[in-house]
Amino acid sequence: MRPDTLGPRSEGPGETPPVDEALTTEEVPPERLASARTIAWARRRRAFGRMAKTYRKSPMGMWGLAILILFVLVAIFAPVISNKETMDPTCECTGAPLEPPSREFWFGTDNLGRSVYTQTVWGARISLTVGLAATLISMVIGALIGIAAGYYGGWLETGLMRLTDWFLVLPWLALAIVLASVLGRSLAIIILVIGITSWPSTARIVRAQALSVKTRPYVERSRGLGASNWHLISRHILPNVGPLIFANTILTVAIAILSESTLAFLGLGDPLSVSWGTMLDFAFSAGAASTGKWWWLLPPGLAIVLIVLAFTMCGFALDEILNPRLRER
């Protein structure tokens, strides 16, 4: 049946189905529109689900995540999977010094007869704790300064950026040594040092992104609507800077763990706690490298490499998701 020649075919112009049928034809029943909060949560769940699906497709990301989960589990279940007393040299359960790997001591023993395996397992706790705590400090400071500098501009930005530059060139090793000698060696000092020397790079990246987001039309639209600075920062700048901060954080943790190992290796770590860095320190001091006691060096060294690798792989995979230009065709 032919309609009239000139009459429009459909009622509302918006009837045409949107582009991505699979995601949008789900009818939203009126009950679910109970409140704005419900909608916001529904949105967050969907966004997260989509991100997870893309992440699953990246082999690098999945492997990195697997290794990471493994280390976290090892750290959490350290008391279960190892006997803490084999770290105590006064315990009778320790073995003979410098024994190669055997059925009893899977990774062998160090020069005091302590189980290298137990030390490695418990060292995971230290490394992860320091890495995460230092990164938290670094991320919070970096994000605050970056957003403030990028959003407000003017004198504030200039001042903050000069501050950032100052901290950027601060030699973290010298600072660590000075602080350690003045305040004594402890985990807190290490966390502090790493935290305050790694925030500048985060701040710079965040500032650049905040600047770019600030000039986007949807932020201008919000400003035109009369939004306050707080509204603009919290509703627009932060969510668009957030993913960048998150990806950067993952990489910063890797660096923090590496830094902790370095400081510990140089003897600035907490002498009372066992981390992979201190293990390497003792091993080298005891001449394990020159006398071929590989079982003392390999586990902590390999652990550091693997965990840094895992964080880096996750970070790259996330970066691919969050930065669409990096995605392969």
Binding site: G14, E15, R43, P217, Y218, R223
Partner: protein, 363 residues
């Protein structure tokens, strides 16, 4: 001076009035120049503009890029700060009062050129539209409608039906035309009196433009919303505008009823713009040479004189106004009922003395 004939008794009060507006962007010099004391000239983006917008009218602001039309629109929206001059809304000057400003921001809304960039990619459609309500702290309308109902109504008015279906979508899931409708819905949700549209359809596909323009026209007809449409496309002005203002280098050089301006232009610049619109078989059309000079170096006298075909052809000299064109700045003059132009030659031919230019920016 007003841009609509003050003698008409039936003209209502303008809903928006701009007086002697000047907007300047500071000049920038390189470090070396700066050290030597060289100061860069300011870019005079808007250089003395008077404009009124009447309730329910569609006013097209036309011109090439760099003429200042976008800057003018943004200044009206409060996104740029004028160097001097004032803006009044419903007769009340905006000034600095936050309360008046806030009210203004609710009743004057903007529609952007690129709908993709104008929507936050991380917010759902619902959130983008509801943002206006939330910024102004409106949780219920005066009739008791909830936020969802207001959002749904705005989406529906913008042609997206059924509105609930789009609530949870993200901008990238919609087409260009639909995104622009969402931006328009975001403007409608606050029940504005005025919509400022900056090139509302130029980034959309050609076949989609008509529907969006129909929507805008429908909003004017049904809701009596006044519209200031910034465009470089005179064909668009022909399609939807009641009045057309043509800008050149920061000034309005011609303003009047759309039919009069577009089919019977007075100012040589408008004539040149109209001749240049492509049409079938038109190969050897005359056009202006060169490109518009930049706003940091505005020529003396009538700012259009270096490119003016009337000057080049000798018509200005023949009428004895050449010296005026090259030395005397001028303002808009009513040369036909409600139709104003700033041209020495045309004023002379109509038997008027040229109108004085708008006052310069207060330092």
């Amino acid at each position: 001076m007003p841009t609509v004939s003050p003698s008409r008794p039936d003209v209502p009060e303008p809903v928006l009035a701009v007086r002697d507006l000047h907007v300047r962007f500071a000049g920038r010099v390189g470090l070396w120049q700066g050290l030597r004391g060289v100061k860069a000239p300011d870019a005079r983006a808007v250089d003395g503009v008077n404009l009124e917008l009447y309730p329910g009218e569609v006013l097209a602001l036309a011109g090439e890029s760099g003429c200042g039309k976008t800057t003018l629109a943004r200044t009206i929206m409060g996104l740029e700060r004028p160097r001097s001059g004032d803006i009044s809304f419903e007769g009340k000057p905006l000034g600095r009062s936050t309360r008046v400003l806030r009210e203004y921001r609710r009743r004057v809304q903007m529609v952007f050129q690129d709908p993709t960039a104008a929507l936050n990619p991380r917010q759902t459609i619902y959130e983008s539209i509801a943002e206006g309500l939330r910024v102004h702290g409106i949780t219920r309308s005066s009739a008791g409608e909830s936020e969802e109902q207001l959002v749904a109504r705005a989406l529906s008015r913008a042609g997206m039906r059924p509105p609930e279906r789009f609530f949870l979508n993200y901008p990238h899931e919609l087409s260009g035309g639909q995104r622009q409708r969402v931006v328009i819905a975001g403007a409608l949700v606050l029940d504005p009196e005025i919509i400022v549209a900056d090139e509302p359809v130029s980034s959309l596909d050609a076949s989609v433009r008509g529907e969006i323009l129909k929507l805008l026209l429908g909003l004017r007809n049904d809701l009596n919303i006044a519209m200031l449409v910034v465009t470089h496309d005179l064909g668009l002005a022909w399609t939807i505008a009641d009045r057309v203002a043509v800008m050149y280098l920061g000034r309005i050089v011609e303003i009047g009823p759309a039919e009069s301006v577009l089919t019977n232009p007075i100012h040589p610049y408008t004539k040149a713009l109209l001749e240049v619109v492509p049409e079938a078989g038109g190969i050897d059309r005359p056009f202006l040479a060169g490109e518009p000079p930049d706003p940091t170096s505005i020529p003396p006298g009538c700012r259009f004189n270096p490119r003016c075909p009337a000057v080049a052809s000798g018509a200005a000299a023949g009428a004895g106004v050449l010296a005026a064109c090259q030395e005397q700045d001028l303002g808009l003059q009513e040369l036909r009922p409600d139709h104003f132009a700033a041209c020495h030659l045309m004023s002379h031919e109509a038997g008027f003395a040229s109108a004085p230019p708008p006052p310069p920016a207060k330092a």
